[in-house]
């Protein structure tokens, strides 16, 4: 489902003396439907960089990243937009929303973008929000004023509203208490069971051991720092 071949990333900072920073190189691996692979490595190893490349928030100059038959390295913007809408979900670390939009609509939006009718999309959003213990009295409010953990859960509800065949999860259990962590892990297990291919970053080792069936140490791809 997700396949990376010889992917590398160099940032060129034109306004800082054209410094070229090679973050990762020669990354190749693949994730089949129903698999969940964890990216590991110390902070700064390039885990999030790699994940953003797979989502195509970061450009990739060489190699190939194939998801569901589309090569993201070569794809036109409209192909990437369609892929993100239908196939590839991403739960980032931070929730980014239009201010003032009610939580219920924020969660229902990925479904609305797919053309699901309002009632149906909102019903699914309600189901996820109650599952994730967001009190009903908050659903009509914008999540911008919520606590960190609540925002995180709203973000997860939004990410799981549509049953994406491929998902990227950036620290989905960070800043959650034990009960909610448990719920998020079971959502991930359910997604695997229905055949989603998942790539995740988990600092929580117990969580990683429970939901993942493979690990990729990103520091193997970090180029040796030249003296």
């Amino acid at each position: 489902m997700i396949e990376l071949k010889d992917v590398s990333k160099t940032f060129t900072l034109h306004n800082q003396g054209s410094a070229a920073i090679e973050v990762i190189s020669g990354v190749s691996f693949s994730v089949a439907p129903g698999e969940c692979v964890a990216l590991t490595g110390a902070s700064g190893a390039g885990k999030s960089t790699l994940m953003r490349k797979i989502y195509r928030s970061y450009l990739t100059q060489s190699g190939a990243i194939r998801i569901g038959g589309v090569d993201l390295v070569q794809a036109e913007p409209r192909e990437v937009i369609a892929l993100r809408r239908d196939v590839l979900g991403y739960v980032s670390q931070f929730l980014r929303v239009v201010p003032r939009v009610p939580t219920l609509d924020v969660v229902a939006e990925p479904l609305r973008a797919l053309g699901v009718p309002v009632d149906e999309a909102q019903a699914r959003a309600q189901e996820l929000l109650s599952q994730l213990n967001i009190p009903q009295r908050l659903w009509s409010l914008s999540p911008t004023t919520f606590s960190g953990g609540e925002q995180q859960r709203v973000n997860i509800a939004r990410g799981f509203a549509h049953a994406y065949p491929a998902m990227l999860l950036d620290e989905p259990t960070a800043s959650l208490d034990a009960e909610n962590r448990e719920i998020v892990l079971s959502l991930i297990e359910e997604a695997r069971a229905r055949g989603a291919a998942i790539i995740g970053i988990f600092h929580d080792e117990a969580a990683r051991a429970r939901v993942c069936n493979g690990e990729i140490d990103v520091s193997c791809f970090t180029p040796e720092v030249a003296a």
Binding site: S57, V98, R100, R112
Partner: protein, 256 residues
């Protein structure tokens, strides 16, 4: 898939100065594209050239018309282009006063565009105008008031209602949230996003506000000195800018 709008090599000079030079891109149905750049970078010139307000020196602006498929709007006859401007195209000006008739009631402003495409029944026109005022969150008891009695944010929302009432397929927007305070901006962004999604609109938005494009646009073009220096997916251009100028632009934003 046929692009809704295909812009090819659009160039406009002001004497020896470059307004915009050799701009080309395709916009597909349902896409929202942002154009950013500092003032004087040519983004408004480009927008006005595309929308038929300014004649470019060179290039083509090919629109996929309902009746005859893709046609170069620059070589269309004036009445044809004007008809397009009343039906399938809409233009939201930065200053609502430029897009409204200030001496006509709010309902009249919305109804006028309907009448331009042939609506004649007063009751129907009034009903649709009221419906649109409601959609842009203007109280229906203000339908007979003139826009001169409205706040800046209300005028901007009225301008949007006037533009969208005929169900256009392509909307040009010039700094639609410029000059509005942030709480009004947020309302307008929410409104625009909902309209784009529910009506399947395509839009081209000129702005200097990167937060606005991040929330509204799927794609982004960065302009500098009349030229497009970088184009791509919005989050990619903002999170991993490639051109020195885009890097400077993104790193210059103050964090709130």
């Amino acid at each position: 898939m046929t692009p809704l709008l295909s812009v090819q090599g659009v160039t406009k000079h002001y004497g020896a100065h470059i307004g915009c030079a050799d701009v080309s891109f395709d916009l597909y149905p349902g896409e929202v594209m942002g154009i950013v750049g500092e003032s004087g970078s040519g983004k408004s010139t480009l927008l006005n050239c595309m929308a038929g307000h300014l004649p470019p020196d060179a290039g083509q602006v090919i629109f996929d018309t309902r009746g005859d498929g893709p046609r170069d709007t620059l070589t269309m006859s004036e009445p044809e282009r004007r008809m397009l401007g009343r039906t399938d195209w809409a233009f939201v000006h930065q200053h609502a006063r430029d897009g409204l008739r200030m001496g006509v009631s709010a309902g009249g402003n919305v109804g006028e565009r309907l009448m331009a495409v042939g609506a004649r029944h007063y009751g129907d026109i009034r009903e649709r105008a009221t419906d649109w005022l409601d959609r842009v969150e203007i109280d229906s008891d203000r339908v007979d008031d003139r826009p001169t009695t409205f706040s800046g944010g209300m005028q901007q929302r009225l301008q949007i209602a006037r533009n969208l009432v005929t169900g256009p397929r392509l909307v040009f927007m010039d700094e639609p949230t410029g000059g509005l305070d942030v709480s009004v901006q947020a309302r307008l962004l929410d409104l625009l996003r909902g309209l784009v999604r529910d009506m399947g609109l395509s839009a081209i938005i000129v702005t200097h506000d990167l937060a606005v494009v991040r929330l509204l646009a799927d794609r982004l073009m960065v302009m500098k000195s009349g030229r497009v220096v970088e184009a791509g997916l919005t989050d990619q251009v903002l999170d991993d800018p490639q051109h020195p100028y885009s890097q400077l632009l993104v790193s210059s934003v103050l964090q709130v």
